[in-house]
Amino acid sequence: MAKKAKSDISFAPTGMQSPEKGGVQKGVDLPPATKKKHKSLGLSNDQVADMYAQMYLQRRFEERAMQQYQKGKFGGFLHLYIGQEAVSTGTVFALQNDDDIITAYRDHGWGLCRGITPKSGMAELFGKATGCSKGKGGSMHFANVKEHFWGGYGIVGGHIPIASGLAFANKYQANGRISTCFFGDGAVDQGALHETLNLAQLWKLPAIFVVENNGYSMGTAAKRHTVAEIVDRAKGYGMKSAVINGMDVFSVYEKMKEIADDVREHSEPWFVEIRTYRYRGHSMSDPQKYRTKEELEEYQSIDPIERLKAYILKEGIRSEADLKAVEDGIEQEVLDAVTFADESPFPEDSELYEDMFVEENPYFHV
């Protein structure tokens, strides 16, 4: 290699600043959405209406949670899923109820569509004893293990190998269940993913590894932190793969259903990239200088909830008044959840020592 002038050398790709420095990198490019209508996807009118209600609930829950955070009702991190609701919703409708789901810390939407009630979710955010994780986990650690939602995890990439373990146990027990694992584009850069993909393919584990590529890992555009197309990682492992438009719930549903069926039948893993967009900052303190207002607006103009609403009205699945009633009902449910969380007690002091070990009186070093 010819010697370079020392000042010409650079390493990381540039580009969230001025045009001379490479300009602002766009988050993601969406693949086309499915053209199929709900009937040909096998979805009933009621199911479509339920999808709408589910996405609307996730949205309003988080908007209210954000308000409560800003009021100082709870602390810690608050990573909002707003913009990505079609991913959780389309997936949950595509899976069977006992299939496993495990995700990262951006987990409220996943919890809400896997049995965590708005009340127990909001109470968890508030750190109350009535929360889904007894107030011990907070925003990042929603979980409902009974319904196979194994929770949200805070170490980027940390839960990916765990997903392979869930799948391993399913194959071992021949129980017909499959495991799905969701993580961000940032997690693609962790060694844990690569070790896990190899293991999963080698051992033919019934698992789906899904990147929710929302364009950014904190303040770093996907194109600045990872090479090539994320989905192409699958090729190196000889793994089946797909790219999905995550701003459209039908597209997520259609493809995830096909994939889930394939995994169940053949016990072979898939690697899937669902492209989506997060509307809010990474957590609550993020000036968002790494992206343009125009880019955000571009995605908000194809909002998955608005899109489904327009479809429902156009197809005459529900009337404007029907939807309004659903929305009002959800709004009230969320407000009730806030009151419930606010009025719930904090955990008893003795809870500090509970859930560390299985024994009733375990040893604690003092």
Partner: protein, 326 residues
């Protein structure tokens, strides 16, 4: 003397060392274009450019090891972990490689790398984001471990860390970054690694406290002073090498000691200091050495449980009263 925030003090140290030595560079998640998750590296990209201030992917194992290799091959990397909780993923490179390469090669390769970032808890961030790692790393031969409490110490010790030819862990706290303090503007202000400091003089009891816990100890000492109990506070600043002399001299004067440590109790810093005191100053003790640490449980999220979990002035005051028989 200039009044600087903790984060600015660290940045000034890095800045001075970068302009002094072309081999020094900074890398880590969000350190360059975002100006640092906690703004410690703010402005360094503009000043030194993309070659020397480098954003990494979320690949702790990879970039920590890259730092080790670059250090072996003539550079002086400063590797930022967004917090030391994430450095666990890089533990193989820190523990198995950085600390051992010189020894295993019979001294042929040096590893002058600095790993830095916030340590321990920072409010309600939950179980995986709240662990104090200084004691754990101090277990391993071949590492120097610094966990400072004030801006002046941060600056002087960061400069030493960067100049040190060994791997050095430099620990900070999210909750201290905004803390202001007077910082020496002496040209090339250096605090040697391994030197603690008496930060408050007193004759009744010695409090050994470092990092975030130093500030809790100060609060306790102020309360106790109102009751006529005078604490001497020793901030070791460096966990390893430990300034044992300074601690022993103080204990020989006060005859009592409480060690305040943000780690869990088993085999931690507090246990080590307690052991050394009984070995070296047994005859001077008027009471057993006590410790105030985290309990032997994970960090809870809930505010009520978190406040119970994190050591506060009250526990120190109780311990002091116990050893002073008040």
């Amino acid at each position: 003397m200039a009044v600087l925030q903790f984060r600015e003090a660290i940045k000034h140290a890095i800045d001075e060392e970068m302009s002094r030595d072309e081999r020094v560079f900074v890398m880590g998640e969000e350190v360059a274009e975002y100006n640092g998750a906690y703004k410690v590296t703010e402005g360094l990209l503009d000043k030194y450019g993309y070659k020397r201030v480098i954003d990494t992917p979320i690949s702790e194992l990879g970039f920590a090891g890259l730092g080790v290799g670059a250090a072996m091959n003539g550079l002086r990397p400063i590797v930022e972990f967004m917090t030391f909780n994430f450095a666990v993923l890089a533990a193989d490179q820190i523990i198995n490689h950085a600390t051992k390469v010189k020894y295993m090669t019979g001294g042929q390769a040096d590893c002058p790398v600095v790993f830095r970032g916030p340590n321990a808890s920072a409010g309600q961030l939950g179980a995986t984001h709240s662990v104090a790692y200084d004691s754990m790393y101090a277990q391993f031969p071949g590492l120097k471990v610094i966990y400072v409490s004030e801006p002046n110490d941060a600056k002087g010790l960061m400069k030493s860390a960067i100049r040190d030819d060994n791997p050095v862990l430099f620990m900070e706290s999210e909750q201290m970054y905004g803390l202001k303090g007077e910082v020496s503007d002496e040209q090339d202000f250096i605090i040697p690694i391994g030197k603690g400091k008496i930060k408050r003089e007193g004759s009744d009891v010695t409090l050994v406290a470092h990092g975030k816990m130093y500030h809790i100890a100060v609060k306790a000492a102020e309360e106790l002073a109102k009751e006529g109990i005078e604490c001497e506070i020793i901030d070791p600043r460096t966990v390893k090498p430990l300034d044992v002399e300074l601690i022993l001299n103080s204990v020989k004067k006060t005859n009592r000691c409480i060690v305040v440590d943000e780690a869990h109790p088993f085999a931690g810093f507090a246990a080590e200091v307690g052991f050394l005191i009984q070995r070296e100053a047994f005859d001077y003790l008027d009471a057993p050495v006590l410790r105030v640490t985290l309990p032997d449980v994970n960090a809870p999220f809930s505010k009520s449980l978190f406040d119970l979990w994190l050591p506060g002035p009250k526990q120190i005051i109780d311990a002091v009263k116990q050893v002073t028989y008040k």
